[in-house]
């Protein structure tokens, strides 16, 4: 390819037509060598130099073009290249420059050649001589006709101006260092390339680490977000598609019913005119209105629902009053009129004869009947009485004689009871005549009476006992047939009790003046305590019966005694002394108490007795030392208990037993040796009593050797070293790999993951698999987030 190009170049040059030398005159070097001397003279000057350059140019071209493509081939014929390379590198310099300034230099070159010619010819003309060629003509030895062309000759002909541009003459230029051998060069290349690649690929590090540490990886990692195009997001284009649609559209358009522009503009204007603040205000206003309306409506509904007549009455009154206020308080005198009016109204309203029964009576003319008439009259009278009562209340005289009023009522009731009954019976079978109504009435009446009586008694005697009793039963009476479990109920009860007690105390204080009351009180209290003590005693007895005699020590009294039992032999003298003093004091106290008790009909104070017990228990030994008399009964008790315990554990030498047991287990679990030598085996008859040398001994491995026991140096412990094979199944043989310690592993198993033990969220989080893939979805290789 390259050679071909080189050949073609001559014709190309013709077209260019820039050379001063006739191309046809050019002769290759080989031709030149073949030529005669005569011919040579004519051609010599041109060929000798020019051809060289042409050739060189060709060579260079070949090289420069081949370089990019021949890389792969270079590898194959590396050796050839290497030999060529050195020549190439020398010529390269020349070639580069000649390429650059080719156009100019070709002309210059021509001129220099002509100059050279002229300069070379001159000596030829001056003297001619015959030159005999002694050497044979070959490729190493050219016929020069005695004229030797040296570089200096050629340099002399060169213009100084031109020489500036010539590279060859540049004296400062240095030779470029020879390139490294290809193998070494490639090695360097690879090393650098490897570093670069490593750097490049290390950019993935973060991503990879993140993915490795992720608790959950969902594949595909970056799923495409799919938008679900629902009907709401679907926007219809207002272009009619079907025939019907187009028809209708046309009709609408023709009749000018459809004018999209107008509609659109109207809306746009309405919105556009308003500023955002204005808009805000308007919406706020609207909202407020709506809210108010809504509330009003609600209120109206609520009021409408109320059925109470009284409420409506009050409402009406209010309304009227308001109206009056609005109308103005012009007539002051109207007040009386108003009263009158109201009275009339009430009268008419309270008209007894307006009841259904009365109406019917009147209607049927039965009112003229004597009995009926009297009944009607009675009704009227009753109404009148009630009215009177009402008026009395209205006057605001809620005086002390309220009670008396009620009493009166009841007194009257009692009197009128029979009459009432009679009336009721006569009234017929209404609701009031029914049994339960009657009963209820009876009950309420009874209650009222009771209350009344109580109050009366209170007034007379000032005895609050009964009151107390009644109040203490409050809860019980309220919750008939029900037990009260709630703490609140009992708390309430306690509160009530407290209050009652306070009240009682106050009352007592008030009555303290009178001796009789004092006496009474004392008596009362004593009686109370007596009663209490009795119950307590009985309880105690029961307890004593129930409790195991071995356990009496740990029951109530001992608990209290614990406070005192801190004094031992080891305790300090000071504390001992203090204890002694305390004991003496208590004894004295005790004696006093005893006396007092004897005086006071031997009333026993529980606390006091307890104290005695505790103190007596506190320092048995000291007491025994100091006072032989002691407190007889109590001491006896203690001795008894001790004896009992002793008796119970008599002959129990626990420690020794334990030692024996330990020895036994050590022996049992140790390795054993069994002598399997058969007596008489291998002996001559009449067994000699010599000890045999060869004993057959079988060693049986025990659980653990004597010296290797864990409890070897532990005194009071036997450690079981038998391996339970059933447990083995549930034990991991060692700490498994990712865990570093046993504790860590155990911790990982501690919290259960099941739904029964955790919340749903935790459960789901803990059971989430690390890798989640989606079926039928391609998992693409990781895509770099940094690219």
């Amino acid at each position: 390819m390259r050679n071909g190009q080189g050949y073609e170049e001559s014709s190309e040059d013709e077209d260019d037509g820039y050379s001063s030398i006739d191309e046809n005159q050019l002769v290759t070097l080989s031709e030149a060598w073949d030529m005669d001397d005569k011919d040579l003279n004519t051609y010599e000057k041109s060929t000798s130099k020019n051809n060289d350059i042409v050739l060189n140019e060709d060579d260079d071209k070949w090289e420069s073009e081949s370089e990019p493509e021949s890389e792969s081939e270079e590898d194959d014929d590396e050796d050839d290249d290497n030999s060529d390379q050195e020549d190439d590198s020398e010529e390269d310099i020349f070639q580069n420059d000649s390429d650059d300034i080719e156009d100019e230099d070709d002309i210059n070159l021509a001129s220099t050649v002509s100059k050279l010619q002229s300069s070379l010819r001159k000596p030829e003309k001056e003297r001619r001589k015959l030159i005999a060629e002694t050497t044979e003509e070959n490729e190493f030895n050219l016929p020069t006709n005695g004229n030797k062309l040296s570089l200096t000759d050629m340099l002399a002909a060169v213009d100084s101006s031109i020489s500036k541009d010539a590279i060859l003459i540049d004296e400062d230029s240095k030779a470029i260092a020879a390139p490294l051998p290809k193998r070494i060069q490639q090695r360097h290349d690879r090393a650098v390339a490897y570093e670069m690649t490593k750097e490049e690929i290390s950019k993935w590090e973060d991503t990879v680490q993140k993915n490795r540490q992720a608790e959950v990886l969902k594949f595909p990692l970056n799923p495409k977000i799919k938008h679900n195009d629902s009907a709401t997001t679907f926007k219809s284009d207002n272009i009619p598609t079907t025939e019907l649609e187009t028809k209708i559209n046309n009709v609408l358009k023709e009749s000018a019913l459809i004018d999209e522009k107008k509609e659109a503009t109207f809306e746009e204007i309405a919105i556009a005119k308003m500023s955002s603040e204005e808009m805000q205000r308007r919406t706020n206003e609207l909202r407020l209105m709506r809210e108010l309306m809504f509330r009003d409506e609600k209120r109206a509904k609520r009021i409408k629902k109320i059925k109470s007549k009284q409420y409506h009455k009050i409402k009406k009154k209010e309304r009227l009053r308001n109206q009056e206020l609005v109308e103005g308080s012009d007539n002051e005198s109207e007040g009386e009129d108003h009263d009158m009016k109201r009275a009339q109204e009430r009268m008419s309203l309270k008209h007894k004869t307006q009841s259904n029964w009365a109406k019917s009576m009147i209607k049927s003319g039965l009112s003229k009947d004597a009995s009926n008439r009297s009944e009607l009259e009675e009704m009227l009278r009753q109404g009148e009485r009630l009215r009177a009562k009402q008026l009395g209340h209205e006057d605001g005289e809620q005086s002390d004689d309220n009670i008396s009023d009620i009493e009166n009522d009841y007194n009257r009731d009692r009197d009128n009871n029979e009459a009432d009954e009679a009336i009721k019976n006569k009234l017929g079978k209404g609701v009031l005549a029914m049994d339960f109504m009657k009963k209820a009435e009876e009950r309420s009446k009874q209650e009222n009476l009771q209350e009344l009586e109580e109050l009366r008694r209170l007034e007379q005697e000032g005895d609050l006992q009964s009151f107390e009793d009644s109040t203490s039963n409050v809860n019980i009476t309220i919750n008939q047939g029900r037990r009260v479990y709630t703490p609140s109920a009992s708390a309430i009860r306690e509160d009530i009790d407290q209050v009652n007690q306070q009240v009682l105390a106050e009352i007592n204080d008030d009555q303290a003046n009178s001796l009789t009351s004092k006496l009474g009180k004392k008596f009362n209290v004593v009686a109370n305590s007596e009663r209490k003590d009795k119950t307590e005693l009985s309880k105690d007895i029961i307890v004593e019966e129930d409790v195991n005699p071995w356990l009496t020590e740990s029951s109530e009294p001992s608990q209290k005694s614990n406070k005192v039992t801190t004094i031992d032999k080891e305790s300090s003298k000071l504390s001992k002394a203090a204890a002694k003093i305390a004991k003496k004091v208590s004894k004295k106290h005790n004696n006093n108490n005893n006396k007092r008790k004897n005086d006071e009909d031997q009333l026993i104070d529980i606390e006091e007795t307890l104290k005695v017990i505790t103190t007596s228990r506190g320092g048995e030994e000291d007491e025994e030392e100091e006072e032989g008399e002691g407190i007889g009964s109590n001491e006896n008790k203690m001795f008894k208990q001790k004896d009992l315990i002793k008796e119970a554990f008599a002959g129990d030498d626990v420690v020794e037993e334990f030692e024996i047991e330990k020895k036994r287990t050590i022996r049992d679990e140790d390795d054993k040796q069994e002598d399997l030598t058969l007596p008489g085996w291998g002996d001559w008859a009449g067994g000699s009593k010599k000890n045999k040398k060869r004993k057959v001994i079988k060693k049986i491995d025990g659980v653990v050797q004597k010296d290797k026991r864990k409890d070897k140096n532990l005194k009071n412990v036997i450690i079981n070293e038998k391996v339970n094979k059933k447990n083995l199944k549930y034990q991991s043989s060692g700490v498994p790999f990712p865990f570093e310690s046993r504790e860590q592993y155990e911790r990982s198993l501690r919290m259960p993951v099941g739904q029964e033990w955790t919340s749903r969220d935790t459960h789901q989080k803990m059971t989430m698999p690390r890798i989640v893939t989606k079926q039928g979805t391609v998992i693409d290789p990781l895509k770099a987030p940094f690219k």
Binding site: D189, T197, G754, W757, T767, P769, Q775, L782
Partner: protein, 461 residues
């Protein structure tokens, strides 16, 4: 007194739709759920047993397979259900996994099909063979008359053939760039081809020996790894157009697979029965050693999730490894399956394909007890709970025993035993050597470095 009654609205427990499950209210009173550890342990044991009971790894084979051993499988990275396979008699087939039938068949080469790859984007596949040809095939069977059977393949050779590249030597191994029109071939030299040129673009060879497999990195897409007959693994970068690093191992590396989730990691399967995980930035040691096979590993493939590896071996078994563990979590084998030459995960990481000497392409489940059917949410929750329990109690002896238990062909069991004895004796011998030589003169070599002879570019340690 105000009485609080237990009241439940029907809205809470009556399902809205009849397809929805009714919810079961739970009582979380701890008194009602005692012995939580014991109960969960029992559940874990049961779950493990059930997993083993339901383990059915084999699904079926693709069509009727080939007429000769299957030596290469290539997956279409764009879909989940399409793969190509090439066999020893020069036939390549393109399969639809859903119907398990072949869609097209070509008589591609004379002799072995040594490399196969499905191009991204357009559905073409590239094949290379011992006959010095690389051929580009169209798998859009609508474009040509696809209605031919296997008998016709031998007559209508040119159908579906899009392009042919003529090489200078027989090819071994071919892989396509993940998204550009470039592919690389192995053989006497490793060459980079442009789809639009008839000659290769560049020759990346380093060293004189044959290249057996070439693999493009699927994430950092300009990096290639190759394994050669000179026991070397070589890395190349097509941006700088050079080889970059070479590591020489004790025995030949048969296969390479890049981790699709970790750009710098790749795994290699070696003739020394082990697979290795490498970090391409430091080849002085491998990151992990996967042991268990009893013969050379012929093919290895990373799961698309990057969490698992599948290896096919000359010992007629497939093993699945977790990428961070050293021993396989499962072993697949059948009586009829012969030497395995290619294994691949499907692109959804649910199935495994294997091609073996017995001319069949088999489909396996990646998780042997998995089922593909749609699961109700309760079923799924149960499964997840079971898996969590299994994971939690996996170190308990009973569960460990059950979950590890596999029936293995007697040949492999025997081979395993023999191998163990051999290794032990070797170890013993080395230990003796060490004992009787100057201290420190025979240092311990970590297992992860034992197989490495050296690297071309020394790392600064």
């Amino acid at each position: 007194m105000k009485i609080k009654t237990i009241s439940r609205s029907a809205d809470q427990y009556v399902p809205v739709r009849n397809t929805q499950e009714s919810s079961l209210p739970r009582n979380l009173n701890p008194a009602l759920h005692p012995f939580e550890r014991a109960r969960e342990y029992t559940k874990a044991v049961t779950a493990t047993k059930l997993e083993r009971m339901f383990a059915q790894p084999f699904i079926g084979q693709l069509g009727d397979g080939h007429r000769d051993g299957v030596y290469c499988i290539a997956k279409n990275f764009g879909t989940t259900n399409q793969v190509a396979s090439g066999s020893g008699d020069g036939i390549i087939k393109y399969w639809d996994m859903t119907s398990r039938q072949e869609t097209v068949t070509f008589k591609a080469h004379y002799g072995l099909v040594t490399g196969l790859s499905v191009t991204p984007g357009k559905t073409h596949m590239l094949s290379c063979g011992d006959d010095k040809y690389i051929k580009l095939w169209s798998v859009n069977y609508n474009e040509f008359d696809a209605g031919f059977g296997e008998e016709d393949v031998y007559d209508k050779k040119s159908q579906g053939l899009v392009k042919t590249f003529l090489g200078e030597h027989a090819f071994k191994g071919l892989d396509h760039h993940f998204n550009e029109d470039i592919f690389v071939t192995g053989g006497l030299s490793i060459q980079l081809w442009d789809m639009n040129r008839s000659k290769y673009v560049s020759d990346l060879s380093w060293g004189a020996d044959n290249i057996n497999t070439v693999k493009f990195n699927k994430t950092e897409t300009n990096i290639i790894a190759s394994a050669g007959s000179d026991n070397s693994i070589v890395l190349y970068d097509i941006r700088t157009n050079t080889a970059i690093q070479k590591v020489v191992t004790n025995l030949r590396t048969n296969c390479i697979s890049w981790n699709p989730m970790e750009a710098f990691n790749f795994a290699s399967g070696s003739d020394d029965h082990n697979a290795y995980l490498w970090d391409m930035r430091n080849l002085n040691k491998s990151l992990n050693v996967y042991k268990d096979h009893v013969a050379g590993i012929m093919d290895i493939d990373f799961s698309p999730t990057g969490e698992e590896l599948v290896t096919g071996s000359y010992d007629k078994t497939i093993r699945i490894f977790r990428s961070r563990e050293g021993h396989s979590r499962d072993i697949y084998h059948t009586k009829r399956m012969q030497r395995i030459f290619c294994v691949k995960y499907t692109t959804d990481a649910r199935y495994i394909l294997s091609g073996s000497d017995d001319t069949n392409v088999r489909i396996w489940r990646a998780n042997s007890s998995d089922r593909a059917g749609i699961k109700s949410s309760r079923q799924r929750a149960k499964m997840e709970y079971d898996n969590a329990l299994k994971e939690r109690f996996k170190h308990m002896p009973e569960i460990k025993r059950i979950s590890r238990h596999r029936h293995v062909p007697i040949v492999i069991k025997k081979a395993n035993e023999i191998k163990r004895v051999e290794l032990e004796s070797l170890k013993k011998r080395q230990e003796n050597d060490r004992k009787h030589s100057r201290a420190g003169s025979k240092p311990y070599v970590p297992e992860r470095q034992k197989h490495i002879r050296g690297t071309a570019i020394k790392e600064d340690k």
